[in-house]
Symmetry: C2
Subunit: 224 residues, 2 copies
């Protein structure tokens, strides 16, 4: 479903080049629940952004459902993201002037739903993450973990084929994080949604079907 070959990403910063991801080969099958683990700065977010078509690789190839995406235009990539992917960003990226409800609803605006259908799906998503009573609050009125949960609800509500979640439990206590993971596991089993996590959370690594370890931009065997 996703096939990355020799995928690499360099960042040019004046006189230095940072090889954030170096020649990664990775194949992601349908229904996978996979964790990317590794030290701070090892390339997890960058790899996730490449797999999620948010960043263009410096070299290598990436196929989504058999289609080569590395040479597509920005518009074509935007369509793929909108149709197939859902994202939870490490920095949440909520829209400050919108409420929790509106931030989640925003993800559904391009879909052909009646206002009532849309509202129901938004409220379901907010209920799953325990934020119904905060639906009308804006991000600045929410705690760190509440903002993270809005970002999670927004990724889930569109029911995409693949959800890429960057440290989705970093700001959640053990109990709340556990609940969020149960929801994701259930969606993975019921809807066959692929989940790709970048994480430091041992709970995610435990329930993941596969853990891929990164160090200095490369995949390393689990033993290291």
């Amino acid at each position: 479903i996703i096939e990355a070959r020799n995928l690499a990403k360099d960042y040019n910063l004046g006189k230095t080049v940072i090889h954030a991801v170096k020649g990664v080969d990775l194949r992601i099958e349908p229904e996978e629940f996979i964790a990317l683990a590794g030290p701070s700065g090892s390339g997890k977010t960058t790899l996730l952004n490449l797999l999620g078509c948010i960043e263009v690789p410096s070299s290598g190839t990436l196929q989504m459902d058999g289609r080569e995406v590395t040479r597509l235009s920005a518009d074509q990539l935007a369509d793929i993201r909108h149709d197939k992917l859902g994202f939870v960003f490490q920095t949440f990226n909520l829209i400050p002037v919108l409420t929790a409800f509106e931030n989640v609803e925003y993800a559904l605006l391009k879909r052909r739903l009646s206002p009532k259908e849309r509202r129901d799906r938004v409220m379901d998503a907010l209920e799953e993450v325990g934020l119904v009573e905060h639906a009308r609050h804006r991000p600045e009125e929410l705690s760190g973990g509440q903002r993270q949960r809005v970002a999670i609800a927004r990724a889930l509500v569109r029911q995409p084929e693949i959800i890429l979640a960057d440290e989705p439990t970093a700001n959640l206590d053990h109990l709340t994080g556990g609940k969020v993971l149960e929801i994701m596991k259930r969606i993975n089993e019921e809807r066959k949604t692929v989940f790709i996590f970048s994480t430091h959370d041992p709970k995610i690594m435990e329930i993941a079907g596969r853990v891929v370890y990164l160090r200095d931009g490369e995949i390393v065997p689990a033993g290291d």
Copy 2:
């Protein structure tokens, strides 16, 4: 060193009032290494902001080194923060146009140091958090965990009496998080700096001298 009595904070949001912190009594002694734990939305960040004189309480009293601070002006509070406190924010709050070095240096500008002394102290702080080779990078060029470490270095560099750290290890892998905690533990033992953490990290709770549990804005006994 810090004495809070019946400290409370309400947020007025149009028709609803959120009682983020309700009547907290808390006494913090010299040299303490104390963790505030509790579910997402339980009031940890709000309590930390009250103790750190970043938010004004709705009611109750707060004494810093015997001095009542609840009726001080904004300027007087700013002086207290600058002279006594260091802060690591849950959302890092780095200045985007400054490099990692400049973000840390910024915390020292009001102190009377020679440029060389200042530079040495900034580089020491960056070395402690493992970011020397990223000194010239701006926040957008850094990973989530690297930004968090810049925020930590900035809080440490001024060697304040009290450091309030809001989820300082949330975006760090187990190893990096452990190193950061060792640094803080050492500073606590050598310089007698008080550390007050808001955290979900069991590593911090393990090494903390005391863990205070919050639920719905109130302190609850550990058993719950």
